[in-house]
């Protein structure tokens, strides 16, 4: 236990993302209401985003916008750029994409849920199953 | 061995395949359709015969089409055995075409275009199997043949043929996929080749005896078209098909492809030497003997003529397997030549059965007393055919039986000789009474007095007379076939 604790403390961000993700996954599998499942799905995807963004973090670094360059291109070459001063831009880029994807998926899923509701007047899975087996 | 590359084998296979679109497009004009069948059949026979002289000179014709994997190509190689089988199949196809016109039109069957198309496809596959250079090609045509005959077997599209078709497929397709395919792939994975060669494909020590035993059994039972018991029940079931199908396919093409495959396996894949070394011939002979005797006994109890013929076929097929399994030159000769001899004999019998059915509508032997007086030609031909199957002179069947018996002596297998003799007696028992009753029995309907001759139409009569005639000719002149076999087996 004594070994585990520092390990957790040093990487608590990863533990958090796993817990968050598992909450989402549990909701997706176990919840009965389709909207709750959708919410679970969103939590699930958000957890991944959290994970990625935390990869990009660097201690003592700032946002990845080169400061000296503001307002003109010429000054840029004068001051040397130190990689350690800026956090990693790549995960942010990737997550911009992932966010968009999850929003898009969520939108489509909502549309589908609306369709299901229009057809069956319910979003509870067990009721839906009953309705389906009736036929 | 000298080989010649030629497209003739391919053309011989394809000619009846390419005629199918023409057949389909001329479905509304039966006469045009049938004349195309003749043209195709004749060309096919001529193509096959044109290769005969080359083969008799001891050369082989080869053609590789598609290299699938090293040692396993889609390829043709015409050797003596293949030639023998191809001649038999192609010539009988032509004869059967005539017969089927008479039969199908005589009974006003439905779906004649479908019938002739699949018939053509089946015969293409048969020739392809005959000319196969390796096991993969053989398997290919074997499967095509299985599937092409399904619509023929189930031609009537009624409940009965549905059941028969189901049984047919279960046995034929089930065994070929379930037994032959794994055995074949195993052979390939061990040796890296599937080319037939008289020495066998297995190098010394590559195959242990238990493995060889299992493989051989998988092949022998797997080629269920050969009707080895207990995988024979499809054949009697398939007799629901129209008689031309029973005649050509279930006495000549389909069943003989099965037997031919087993011959190829024994002589081309394992090789005679390997099998004699492991002493596996006796095992196959035992299996074959059981089939011979049991099916002969069953045949005795059958009243439907076609079913009796079917069981007779099963027993005769095992003769061939039996002969090859003797692994002696004489036995091999007897076995392989029985392919031809039995083909002509049995097709005559089937033709007669069909002719009787068309002319009188009778299917059962018990109804046939006195029929010989009405249909003397048919029954005479039937007599000759029966002689061929029993193995009595002056029919070709005698020649093969003679060689088989010599073969058993040569191999010093006296018990098996007794099997052959016993089965010949049984054959006589189930055929001769039909003929006796036909000529001398009392017909049920009519009393005494002169009987009006009431033969079937000429389209039916001529083919059966012709095959009966050939059956006799083969007794006197078997030389070409003998030579082909000796070349094919490398016995010269």
């Amino acid at each position: 236990m004594t070994d585990l604790l520092p390990l957790i403390v040093a990487k608590y961000n990863y533990w958090l993302y796993v817990i968050l993700m598992m909450i989402g996954l549990y909701a997706m599998i176990a919840k009965n209401n389709l909207i709750k499942k959708l919410v679970g799905m969103n939590i699930f995807q958000t957890a991944i985003i959290l994970f990625y963004v935390s990869i990009g973090y660097k201690k003592d670094a700032t946002i990845p916008i080169i400061q000296s360059a503001h307002g003109g291109g010429h000054g840029a070459h004068e001051a040397a750029i130190h990689a350690a001063d800026y956090i990693n831009p790549l995960p942010h880029v990737l997550m911009l994409t992932a966010i968009v994807v999850s929003v898009a998926t969520f939108g489509v899923a909502m549309a589908l849920a609306v369709r299901v509701y229009q057809r069956y007047q319910t979003l509870e899975e067990d009721e839906l199953r009953m309705r389906l087996s009736e036929k | 061995m000298e080989t010649i590359v030629s497209v003739k084998p391919l053309l011989a296979v394809l000619v009846t395949l390419f005629v199918i679109p023409i057949l389909v497009s001329s479905s509304s004009k039966p006469n045009v359709r049938e004349s195309w069948i003749f043209i195709a059949g004749t060309i096919k026979l001529l193509l096959v015969l044109s290769m005969l002289p080359v083969i008799l000179e001891g050369k082989q014709i080869v053609l590789t089409l598609f290299e699938i994997a090293p040692g396993a190509a889609i390829a043709f190689r015409v050797d003596g055995l293949g030639m023998l089988f191809a001649i038999v199949a192609a010539s009988l196809y032509l004869v059967t075409s005539v017969y089927s016109i008479g039969y199908m039109r005589g009974l006003d069957e439905h779906g004649q275009t479908r019938f002739v198309s699949f018939f053509a496809l089946a015969i293409s596959a048969t020739i392809g199997a005959a000319f196969s250079a390796n096991l993969m090609t053989l398997y290919l045509f074997y499967e095509v043949l299985s599937l092409a005959t399904y619509p023929l077997v189930t031609h009537h599209q009624d409940a009965n043929s549905r059941l028969s078709g189901r049984r047919y497929l279960t046995f034929i397709l089930g065994t070929s996929i379930g037994l032959v395919l794994p055995a074949m792939i195993y052979c390939y994975s061990v040796t890296g080749t599937l080319e037939f060669s008289t020495a066998g494909i297995f190098a010394a020590g590559e195959l242990s005896k238990p493995a060889a035993t299992v493989l051989l059994l998988m092949f022998v039972f797997g080629f269920a078209k050969a009707g080895i018991m207990p995988f024979h029940t499809w054949l009697p079931a398939a007799m629901v098909a129209p008689t031309p199908v029973s005649a050509l396919l279930h006495a000549v093409a389909v069943v003989k492809v099965g037997v031919f495959s087993i011959v190829r396996i024994i002589t081309g894949i394992f090789g005679v030497e390997l099998l004699s070394e492991f002493n596996l011939g006796v095992m196959v002979m035992t299996i074959a003997s059981v089939t011979i005797l049991v099916s002969s006994c069953i045949a005795l109890s059958q009243d439907e003529l076609k079913r009796r013929l079917a069981f007779s076929t099963i027993s005769q097929l095992s003769y061939i397997v039996f002969g090859v399994a003797l692994l002696t030159p004489q036995g091999l000769l007897g076995g392989v030549i029985h392919i031809a001899m039995h083909a002509f004999g049995k097709i005559t019998l089937f033709f007669c059965a069909g002719a009787i059915f068309v002319a009188t509508g009778k299917k059962y032997i018990s109804q046939m007393s006195g029929l010989g007086k009405k249909m003397p030609f048919t029954f005479a031909a039937f007599f000759i055919g029966a002689l061929g199957v029993i193995g009595l002179p002056p029919s070709g069947g005698f020649y093969s039986k003679w060689n088989l018996i010599l073969g058993t002596l040569e191999a010093q297998q006296t018990i098996f000789m007794l099997v052959l003799l016993l089965s010949s007696f049984l054959n006589a028992f189930y055929f001769l009474p039909i003929i006796y009753k036909g000529f001398f029995g009392k017909s049920e309907e009519e009393g005494d007095g002169p009987v009006k001759i009431q033969e079937a139409n000429l389209c039916l009569l001529i083919p059966l007379m012709f095959t009966a005639f050939i059956s006799i000719v083969l007794f006197f002149y078997p030389t070409v076939f003998v030579k082909l076999i000796n070349i094919g087996l490398g016995l010269l």
Binding site: L34, L112 | V144, Q157, R162, R166
Partner: protein
């Protein structure tokens, strides 16, 4: 033109956008735009394949940046083949689809074609890309489009089936994304070749192991490997025919391609088969998939559903072959990607023709179909034989390699499963044929011409020609499989 690799993917995307605009202005234009787009794509795919065969792997730098910095299209023999397969099938299906779209989704045909093209874009992009994250984005495009399509088909059950598909699809894609994240974290790169270069040094790392497992599970969910297949049968059988015909042969096959790409290019055989000890377990899973797929197919009463379970079964073939860990098995798996795509396409084309005429394809609806639709049935029979594995159709030859691979590894259970599944498929299809051939059962012996005088009611000629063409190509591809193996697959594996 050096830009063929980009054009393969961009042409359908551009066409999708133009078709989307046209849908609002002049809907009739959407269809020709789509045809042109896919024609360009197919042509580019052919050119690319020829270039790759002639002069080796193509590296195409997007935006001109060198690989680990920018995104690279790395087209080797395997991609090139799959690219041609995807664009070709999409193109042919589009031609065959005009009539069925008119019948099924006439009021929003323009949008249908747009989604269709976007789906193809996604598949092509997945196949062409050499970047792990780019792959994810494109997988999501294919997923989103197929969610929409599935819901469009069956008005009753489609939306619910699609929603379930969304849940499982999102889990699959997220697992893959997470796996890529783990890989990125430990290697710092997203380019496949770059990652592959760094990984050998990290052989024993638990992070790499987890990354591998996550990627594989993600891809397996997307390809519907048993027992992660539950979404597939409903999703595919409820989608509109024009789309089902394309998604059924392509989607799962492209995912198998992704799996093989990850195994061969990114993680490497050495890592998977020597460091890890899970190959046997996966082969067993594949064996189970084959058997379970076959058995579940037997229980179906609807032709479309039955075929979808056959897809589940076929997935087992490819996964098993790829995890055999030897050249023969991998050859079989890759060859089967090609063959299975073509034969599933042929099957679904035939089914599409049936749906066009019959509206629904429960097995009992198929009575007398041999008489009514002889040409469609010919195509169906050929495709069925290919699935069963009857030579000379192509299904036989890939099965040949798969069994050889299994024997070489000593995985006899897998070989046995392949044989058994052939038998099961034979039973399945002959059950269908019997219904089509024998029923309605005639009285007595069926003599006389009256029996066969069923009026022929075939599908439109455009659909028939494509069906015929694809069915024949089954045999042609089968006969030339030796050539395909020698010019494409073996050089790729070397």
């Amino acid at each position: 033109m050096d830009n063929y690799p980009a054009l393969i993917v961009v042409a359908p995307l551009l066409a999708a956008l133009f078709a989307g605009i046209a849908a609002w202005i002049e809907e009739r234009l959407s269809y020709p735009i789509a045809v042109i787009g896919l024609a360009i794509s197919t042509f580019s795919a052919i050119m690319t394949l020829m270039t790759v065969i002639a002069s080796g792997t193509i590296h195409y730098r997007m935006a001109g940046w060198a690989p680990p910095m920018g995104i690279e299209y790395r087209i080797d023999l395997l991609n090139a083949m799959v690219l041609l397969l995807v664009s070709g099938i999409a193109f042919l299906n589009l031609i065959a689809s005009y009539k069925s779209v008119e019948q099924e989704t006439s009021d929003r045909a323009g949008s249908f074609y747009t989604i269709y093209l976007l789906f193809v874009t996604g598949l092509l992009g997945v196949t062409a890309t050499g970047d792990l994250f780019n792959l994810y984005v494109l997988i999501e495009i294919t997923s989103l489009t197929s969610y929409a399509m599935v819901a469009l088909g069956d008005k009753d059950r489609g939306p619910l089936a699609s929603l379930n598909y969304v849940f499982i699809g999102v889990i699959g894609a997220s697992f893959y994304l997470l796996g890529v994240g783990y890989l990125y974290l430990i290697t710092g790169s997203l380019n496949m070749m770059d990652v592959a270069g760094i990984l050998p040094a990290l052989k024993g790392s638990s992070t790499v192991l987890v990354a591998f497992i996550l990627c594989m599970i993600g891809v397996w969910i997307k390809m519907a490997l048993f027992p992660m297949h539950v979404w597939l049968p409903n999703a595919y059988s409820y989608s509109p025919v024009a789309f089902a015909r394309m998604v059924a042969p392509l989607m799962t096959k492209v995912m198998v391609y992704v799996m093989i790409r990850l195994m061969v290019t990114v993680f490497g055989f050495e890592y998977i088969f020597e460091t890890l000890n899970i190959a046997d377990a996966v082969v067993w899973l594949a064996t189970l998939a084959i058997l379970a797929g076959g058995v579940m197919a037997l229980a179906q009463k609807n032709l479309k559903k039955m075929l979808t379970y056959i897809i589940v079964c076929e997935i087992g073939y490819m996964v098993g072959g790829a995890w055999m860990g030897n050249q023969l098995g991998m050859t079989g798996a890759i060859l089967h990607i090609l063959n299975d795509a073509i034969m599933t396409f042929a099957l679904f084309l035939a089914v599409g023709n049936m749906v066009y005429k019959l509206k629904k394809v429960d097995l009992t609806d198929l009575k007398g179909l041999f008489g009514k639709m002889p040409w469609t049935m010919t195509g169906f029979v050929l495709a069925a034989f290919s699935i069963i594995g009857v030579p000379p159709t192509c299904g036989f030859f890939s099965k040949w390699y798969l069994i050889l691979g299994a024997l070489e590894k000593g995985a006899y259970h897998f070989a046995a499963a392949l044989i058994i599944s052939s038998l099961i498929c034979a039973v399945l299809f002959f059950k269908v044929f019997e219904i089509c051939f024998f029923e309605p059962m005639s009285e007595g012996h069926g003599h006389g011409e009256s029996h066969s005088q069923v009026a022929i009611e075939e599908a439109p000629i455009s659909m028939l020609i494509i069906t015929g063409f694809v069915s024949l190509s089954l045999i042609v591809v089968g006969l030339y499989s030796g050539t395909i193996v020698n010019t494409i697959i073996l050089p790729f594996l070397k």
